[in-house]
């Protein structure tokens, strides 16, 4: 048993050291209030869990060292023990209390990260539609009227509202250092609110397996100061080409593509799905929508 524990702790130290020395783990290195809330929640739960592990391990070590047959003598006969109501109540109640505490923390942190971050409620959020197709991400900025592929630029200290959907299988939009992930699905919109505190380049990825190119489906989320952001938008509007419907449809079809920048977005001719949850194509408004339906249908058949 001792050898085992020595080995286990050795392994644990090695693994911690291996990762610990160069940089902190991504999830525990938040760069925005949402990711901070989650990181705090995770660390809080880890501390409580470590406490539980400690209690179990101490009891376990005690039982195994004290009551080995080799120590108990040849003719020792263990007593019959039915159980103890007091003890049973104790080890039911304490976990119940722990679960209640964790529940409160969970409900609060969940509603925090689902909403616009505290302190930013009054600010006008930047809306970005993030949609996935095959193994790439399209980012459409409806107000700015621009679109990017496989990278997204956002201003710091301003709430960003990502509206997620997919042109195919379910993907999951995740920028670990800024916020938790959420699914992007066909025929419905999911909202993800986040704020970036510090300028920098963050890894973004799809975390939900969606076919053979899944491993390559990451993007860069670059947070920049408000003025830099405005400047970038201006540059894009001036220099980038327009996104035609034809080009967009061919973009949807190919497997992979590098970064792209356009001075118009696909929302005008290929509107995003309407509403959260539920799926009713009839709800889509106008002729455009139904055309889009048939278009996308053809593509899928070719796929």
């Amino acid at each position: 048993m001792k050898i085992k524990w020595a080995l286990l702790s050795l392994i644990f130290t090695i693994t911690t050291v291996l990762t610990g020395c160069d940089q902190p783990l991504l999830v525990l290195d938040p760069k925005g209030p949402q990711a901070k809330t989650l990181s705090d929640t995770i660390i809080f739960s880890m501390v409580i869990m470590a406490g539980i592990l400690l209690v179990v391990y101490i009891l376990y070590a005690y039982m195994l060292t004290k009551y080995r047959a080799s120590k108990m003598g040849e003719d020792y006969e263990p007593p019959h023990e039915e159980g103890s109501h007091t003890l049973e109540i104790i080890w039911t109640l304490i976990p119940v209390i722990i679960v209640v505490v964790l529940s409160v923390v969970t409900v609060r942190s969940t509603s925090d990260v689902e909403a616009v971050p505290k302190g930013y409620e009054e600010d006008k959020p930047l809306v970005i539609y993030a949609s996935s197709s095959n193994w790439k991400w399209h980012f459409s900025y409806p107000e700015e009227g621009i679109e990017t592929v496989n990278y997204v630029n956002i201003p710091t200290d301003r709430p960003v509202e990502f509206r997620l959907y997919s042109h195919g299988p379910i993907s999951s939009f995740w920028i670990p250092q800024l916020a938790g992930q959420k699914y992007a699905m066909n025929a419905m919109i999911n909202e993800l609110n986040l704020v970036a505190d510090a300028p920098g380049s963050y890894i973004g990825k799809n975390s939900n397996f969606n076919g053979k190119g899944f491993a390559h489906m990451d993007f860069e989320a670059q947070a920049m100061t408000a003025s830099e952001y405005v400047q970038w938008v201006e540059d894009v509007k001036e220099t980038a080409p327009k996104l035609s419907e034809k080009e967009f449809n061919s973009l949807l079809e190919i497997d992979f593509v590098g970064r792209k920048t356009y001075s118009s977005n696909h929302l005008t001719f290929s509107p995003p799905p309407v509403g959260n949850h539920g799926h009713n194509p009839d709800e889509k408004d106008g002729k455009d929508a139904s055309e889009d339906e048939s278009n996308s249908h053809e593509e899928h058949n070719q796929h």
Binding site: G83, I170, S172, N186
Partner: protein, 648 residues
């Protein structure tokens, strides 16, 4: 369909090697059976048997083969991800491998291993001579075997499912997964699932109706309790899978739109149906494990199980909660704060009854007299390792935090920390523990302990790093990753652990061979001085289990009979009624296998012919007059004397 789409093994040297080994292995078995003239023996003693013990052994045998298959998948996956940008497997091959690894390990390894153990042990533990419906039991096994065969064929013929064991739509739809892989998924799981559902019914009836006189519910051994509750879960959960798979088949092969992206289909519906089944499924493989640990810990602590009643109550609580938490598998689907909070709280609530069980096991050890045999070592290792799995489960249960763990290696580490020390350690422990009951000799302890240390240490080396990788943002199911991610070293460490695990399992299998040749016979029938009724009869167990059905007047009645030197069996021999063997379940399984295969490829005419074959076996059964047979008193006396030998 083109031929090279059919024979997919022609694309890939690794698959080609697999194909050749399958053909050669099959040929070797065929030649061997013919050469040693064992076809008759195989048919009369095994293929047609309705004896619960033999059916159990066959389940375990298949489970071990599938453990090997799933284990090779795991090794390939870990080898592929051991270094960044590895070229060992391409994306398609990797996707097929992690999909079949999940399916094989859960449905064709863990479940049949558990069902095998319960087949062997439950009638013995309740003092019965067989299960309630022996013929149905054989049908269950052969349907399971047909499903397993079908899924394994997929690797070389037509291609395996490649959309994950969860097969989320729209990814698993015809549009995005046009090969027959996911047809195999829907049909192989359907066929074996029907078998499992029948097992569920069979064992509920067996445990409720066939207990020995005097054995009230609260006098049942804990393993029997766990199996009863498990089978209730099976009966409630599996119909959901049946329906979901039927809808999947209709979508993929008959043009319906239940889960598709257009015409009102809902991909979320699949995710919900799948997890309404798959979450209870996890408890189907874990609760019997709890039962096995309860038996072993109490036997080798030489003490009664602490808190028997609370053990039962906590298992019932877990089984109820298991149906109320399915949505925690997709908190990130955007159900909103309210739904996520409710499912979070329900999920974390499971920790309470599980904790109660943990403390009861610890207090069973208290004041005990612990001997460290191989099964006991596995049971003791379960406690600290499974607790890590349990507490990380609570962490994952917190909806907000799950937004950061979901789909990452943290999750992968968690469920391996639950399923391996939970289920796999339990079935290995149970395998070592009950082995002498079935075969009449114990597995070697030295080899057993060597295997134990290899498996336990390597397991931690293989899976502990994944927690850290997950927190560093590594997602699951990636066939490759770049150097810059920094995931390399820990993945390499994990691969080393995986190799150690493989070595451990090789030692385990070698132990079976070694012990068969050299282990001394156990003539007592009760090598551990154990407590429950299965140890009261001979090893190996005679076909009728008990010459005289015991009367049970307390929990651990056999133990007290031994202590008080009182007779456990009272009365005299009477003729015993036994069910007759039948080839019908085997033929039905064969017909199902052909039907499934033809359905996969949408070859309707052969499929209809095979379906007629299935119905033929059913009609045959309907008109069959078979009242079983009697074993005469003289024959019982002869058998008993022979088995007793020089014992008394």
């Amino acid at each position: 369909m083109k031929w090279d789409e059919f024979f997919v093994f022609t694309h890939d040297p690794m698959l080609f090697a697999a194909m050749i080994s399958i053909v050669l292995g099959g040929l070797a078995i065929f030649v061997g059976l013919t050469y040693f003239k064992k076809w008759g023996y195989l048919w009369t003693e095994w293929l047609t048997t309705v004896d619960h013990k033999r059916i159990g052994v066959m389940y375990i045998l298949v489970a071990l083969v599938m453990l090997f298959r799933g284990g090779v998948d795991a090794l390939l996956m870990r080898a592929q991800s051991a270094v960044p940008e590895n070229g060992l497997l391409n994306a398609q091959h990797y996707n097929e491998i992690f999909t079949t690894h999940g399916l094989l390990m859960i449905l064709f390894m863990a479940m049949p291993f558990i069902i095998g153990l319960m087949n062997v042990i439950i009638p013995l533990q309740i003092g019965a001579r067989d299960v309630a419906f022996p013929r149905l039991n054989a049908v269950s096994f052969w349907l399971f075997a047909a499903g397993a065969a079908l899924l394994n064929i997929s690797f070389v013929i037509g291609g395996s499912p490649d959309a994950g064991w969860t097969a989320y739509f729209p990814l698993a739809s015809l549009e995005y997964s046009p090969t027959v892989g996911n047809n195999y998924y829907s049909l192989a799981l359907q066929i074996s699932g029907i078998g499992t559902l029948m097992t569920g019914i069979n064992f509920i009836v067996t445990i409720l109706k066939m207990r020995a006189p005097g054995m009230t519910l609260m006098k049942m051994p804990m393993f029997t309790w766990s199996v009863l509750i498990t089978n209730v879960i099976i009966v409630f959960a599996f119909p959901v899978l049946t329906v979901a798979l039927a809808l999947m088949m209709l979508d993929r092969q008959f043009g319906t739109q239940f889960f598709t992206m257009s015409n009102g289909g809902m991909d979320m519906l699949w995710a919900n149906l799948f997890w309404v089944w798959a979450h209870p499924e996890v408890y189907i493989v874990i609760l019997p494990a709890f039962g096995i640990y309860s038996e072993i810990i109490s036997t080798f602590a030489r003490k009664n199980l602490y808190g028997y009643k609370s053990m039962v109550v906590s298992m019932v609580a877990i089984s109820l909660l298991s149906f109320l938490v399915w949505a925690h598998h997709f908190y990130t689907m955007g159900q909103g704060v309210m739904a996520n909070s409710i499912f979070s709280i329900a999920t974390m609530a499971i920790a309470v009854p599980t904790g109660v069980k943990m403390f009861n096991w610890l207090f069973t050890l208290h004041k005990g007299k612990i001997t460290f045999t191989t099964p006991m070592l596995y049971s003791l290792a379960f406690i600290p390792i499974f607790t890590i799995g349990g507490v990380t489960g609570v962490m994952l249960g917190m909806a907000s935090a799950d937004y950061q763990y979901h789909n990452t290696m943290f999750l992968v580490a968690h469920f391996h920390y639950v399923l391996i020390p939970g289920t796999v350690f339990a079935v290995i422990a149970g395998f070592h523990y009950w082995y002498p009951k079935v075969f009449g000799y114990q597995l070697n302890e030295r080899l057993g302990k060597l295997g134990f240390w290899l498996i336990t240490i390597s397991f931690n080396v293989a899976f502990m790093p994944l927690f850290i990788l997950g927190l560093n943002g590594m997602t699951r199911r990636m066939y490759t990753y770049s150097e810059e991610t920094g995931f390399g070293p820990l993945n390499m460490l994990s691969f080393v652990g995986a190799l150690g695990l493989a070595l451990g399992f090789i030692v385990l299998v070698y132990n079976i061979y070694w012990s068969a040749r050299y282990s001394p016979r156990d003539t007592s029938g009760d090598p551990y001085d154990a407590r429950s009724p299965e140890w009261s009869t001979h090893s190996p167990v005679p076909v009728y289990n008990f010459a005289i059905v015991p009367t049970i007047n307390s929990l651990d009645a056999f133990w007290y009979a031994k202590k008080n030197k009182a007779p456990f069996f009272e009365g005299k021999y009477e003729p015993i009624h036994m069910p007759s063997n039948s080839g019908q379940p085997f033929l039905m399984g064969v017909a199902f296998c052909f039907w499934g295969f033809f359905m996969v490829f949408s070859w309707w005419i052969p499929a209809i012919i095979s379906a007629l074959g299935i119905f033929a076996t059913m009609i045959y059964r309907t008109f069959e007059r078979d009242h079983g047979y009697y074993i005469s008193v003289e024959e019982i006396e002869r058998t008993e004397n022979a088995l007793r030998g020089d014992k008394q």
